[in-house]
Symmetry: C2
C-alpha cells in the first residue's frame, strides 16, 4: 500500500525509548529517512542524539532534532516518572503530534508509559477510557486482526462492540479490506456459547451493522475465519503471549528435531521465520495505540534498528491511510446506535 503513496509524513520519534536507545533508535530513524516518505523529528538530549547522528551520512535526509533533557529511565513507575518529568522525551513526542508539528509519534519506551502519555496528551475517543491494543496477532492469517490484546480487561459488552468498530477501521485502513468481517471469540461457535458478557456482546454485534459472522473459536484465529476478531484484553493477552512462547519453544524443538537433516543456518532461519509468524512485534515492529486521537505507534523495548524502521513505517502508513479518521467515523456510527 505505502509504496504507491509518495506523500511525505512528518514523524516524531522518541529517541530515548527502548533498551538500545538512543543508538539503535537513531540508526533506525536514519534508515527510515533513507527509505523516504518521512520527515523525522528525533526527540531527546541534543548532544546525545547528534553524537549518534554523526555516525551516519545524513546529508540531504529529512532528520531534525527536537531537544529535551528529560526522559524515562528503565524501572521507573510510569505514571510517577511522567508526572515528575513533564519534558520527558515520550511526552514531548506525543505533544508534537498534539500541536500539529508532527503527524505521528513513535516510541519504543515502556508500553504503560506510552499509554499514559497518549491518554494525557492526545486523549481517547469519547467514552473510551483507555487506548486499545490490537493488530495482526498470528501471521499465518495476515488478514485477521485481534483486539484487545491486553490493555482492557473485564470488558463490558459495549466495549467489545467498540473494539469491533476500531477493528473494522483498522482492517479497512491498514489491511486494505473494504468490508471486513467481524467475529466474536468464544468457547463455541453457537450463539449461546460464552460468558454472560460475551453472550450480550453477541446480541450487540448482531445489530451493529458490521459484517458480523458470529462466534469463532481458538482454531479460527490461525485459519483467518474473520478479518476482525474481538475479545477481552485478558484473553487476547494470554493468547498473544502463548503465541510468543510457542514460537520460541517450537523453534527449539525444530532445531533439535531437524538437527542433521538440515544445515544449521537453515534451521536458524526457520526459527526466525516462526517468530515472524507468531510474534506480533517481530513482524510489524510495533503497532498504533487504537482509540487515541492521534497516531502513536509503540514498539517493543528490545527493538533494534530494523524493527524501529518498521515502526516508523507503520506510523507513516497509519497517517497516509487515515487510520484515526476512519476509527472516528466507525465510532460515531456505533455511538448513534
Amino acid at each position: 500500500v505505502d509504496s504507491m503513496d509518495k506523500s511525505v509524513v512528518r514523524i516524531a520519534v522518541d529517541a530515548m525509548g527502548g533498551d538500545y536507545a538512543p543508538a539503535e533508535v537513531v540508526k533506525g530513524a536514519v534508515q527510515a529517512a533513507q527509505r523516504g516518505g518521512v520527515e523525522i523529528i528525533l526527540v531527546g538530549p541534543e548532544d546525545r542524539v547528534q553524537a549518534e547522528l554523526s555516525r551516519y551520512d545524513v546529508e540531504g535526509l529529512s532528520l531534525l532534532v527536537h531537544h529535551t533533557s528529560q526522559f524515562i529511565v528503565d524501572g521507573e513507575s510510569p505514571a510517577r516518572a511522567l508526572r515528575a518529568k513533564p519534558e520527558a522525551s515520550m511526552l514531548v513526542t506525543a505533544r508534537l503530534v498534539k500541536e500539529g508539528q508532527a503527524e505521528a509519534a513513535v516510541t519504543l519506551g515502556h508500553t504503560g508509559a506510552a499509554m499514559i502519555s497518549a491518554l494525557w496528551v492526545l486523549g481517547t475517543l469519547e467514552g473510551l477510557q483507555r487506548p486499545v491494543a490490537g493488530g495482526v496477532a498470528c501471521f499465518l492469517a495476515p488478514q485477521t486482526m485481534l483486539l484487545d490484546l491486553g490493555v482492557n480487561v473485564d470488558c463490558k459488552p459495549r466495549q467489545l462492540l467498540q473494539f469491533a468498530a476500531i477493528g473494522v477501521a483498522y482492517a479497512r485502513s491498514l489491511l486494505g479490506i473494504p468490508e471486513p468481517t467481524v467475529a466474536l471469540l468464544s468457547n463455541g461457535s453457537e450463539e449461546g456459547k460464552g460468558t454472560e458478557r460475551v453472550k450480550e456482546a453477541h446480541q450487540l454485534l448482531k445489530r451493529s451493522g458490521f459484517k458480523f459472522i458470529g462466534n469463532v473459536e481458538g482454531w479460527d484465529i490461525p485459519a483467518g475465519r474473520a478479518n476482525v476478531i474481538v475479545c477481552d484484553g485478558f484473553v487476547g493477552n494470554v493468547f498473544l503471549k502463548y503465541g510468543e512462547g510457542l514460537s520460541r519453544a517450537l523453534a527449539a524443538w525444530l532445531q533439535e528435531r531437524l538437527a542433521g537433516l538440515l544445515p544449521a543456518q537453515e534451521l536458524a532461519r526457520l526459527g526466525q521465520e516462526l517468530g515472524g509468524l507468531l510474534e506480533l512485534e517481530e513482524q510489524v515492529g510495533g503497532g498504533p495505540l487504537l482509540g487515541v486521537k492521534g497516531v502513536m505507534v509503540v514498539g517493543h523495548g528490545r527493538s533494534r534498528a530494523p524493527a524501529i524502521e518498521k515502526a516508523i513505517g507503520q506510523a507513516r502508513l497509519a497517517v497516509v491511510n487515515r487510520l484515526v479518521e476512519t476509527i472516528e467515523e466507525e465510532w460515531r456510527r456505533i455511538s448513534r446506535s
Copy 2:
C-alpha cells in the same frame, strides 16, 4: 507408571460412541485387551458388537459384551436424547461404574452427553456443579496441566481454587509429581494483574496451602513454569483450540516451507509430531472428567483404534493411581479452609 503395575482393571467401554463406532471402538478395545492389565466390557447392541469382535482372534482375552439396544445418534440434543433413552450405551457404561461392575468408563461419544451422563449417574463432588475439563494441553511442557479447558465459564474465584485442588491431585496421580506447583493464568505476572475474579482467586490461592507460585502468562504454558495452571474454562478453551488450529496451520506451513529440503514422508511425520505436541486428543486419546465421583474418560469423537486404546489406558491409569480418591482428599482439604 502403569508398566510397573500388574493389577487388572475392569473397564466399561461405550461401544456406540464416536464417529467410527462400533468398528474402531471394538478394534481399540481388542488391542487394549491384548496389551493386558484390563478387562473390557463392551456396552452396545450384542449383535453389532459381536459382529465386530468376530473379525479378531479374541480367544483368551478379557472381553465381555454388555447388551443394550439404545444409543445416542450424532446430531441429537444430548440432554433430550439421554432422557428419551434411559438405556443408552453411554448411560449404561457410566452405570456399570456406579454399580461397581466396572472400575472405569470410557466413551468417545458427544462430550456434552458424556458430561450429563457422568453428572446424572456418578455425580460430582460436593459443591461442584459440573465436571471439570483438564489435562496436559501443550506437550512441549508435559509436566504442566491446565484446567478448566472449556466446561466451566464465568468462574467465581472459589471455583478457580477448586480447579487448583483437582489439578494438584491430577498432577500427583497421573503425572507422578509429589508436590506440584500451582499458578494462576493472568495477563501479567504481578499480583495486581488480571480480571477482578482473577485477583480475588490470587488471594485465595495464596492462602491455600498449595505450592502457589503466583500469576503466570501465556508464554509460561509452553515453558512449563508450573505443574498446574488454573484458568476460567472460557480462556482454557480458546487456548486449547488455538493450539489445535496452530498445529494444523504450522504443519501446512512446514510442508510448504521445507518442500524439496526434506523427503515428503519426513515432512508428513513432522506434521504429525506437531499435532502430538499441540493437540490434546492426539496425544493422550482422551482425558478423565474431573471432579466426578468415578473414573469416566472421554475421548475425541474422531478417535480411531489407537486413540481408543490410549483412552482405555488412561482410564486404567486413573484407577491404578487413585485419581478420584486423591481429588477427594484435596477437595476436603480446601473445603475446610
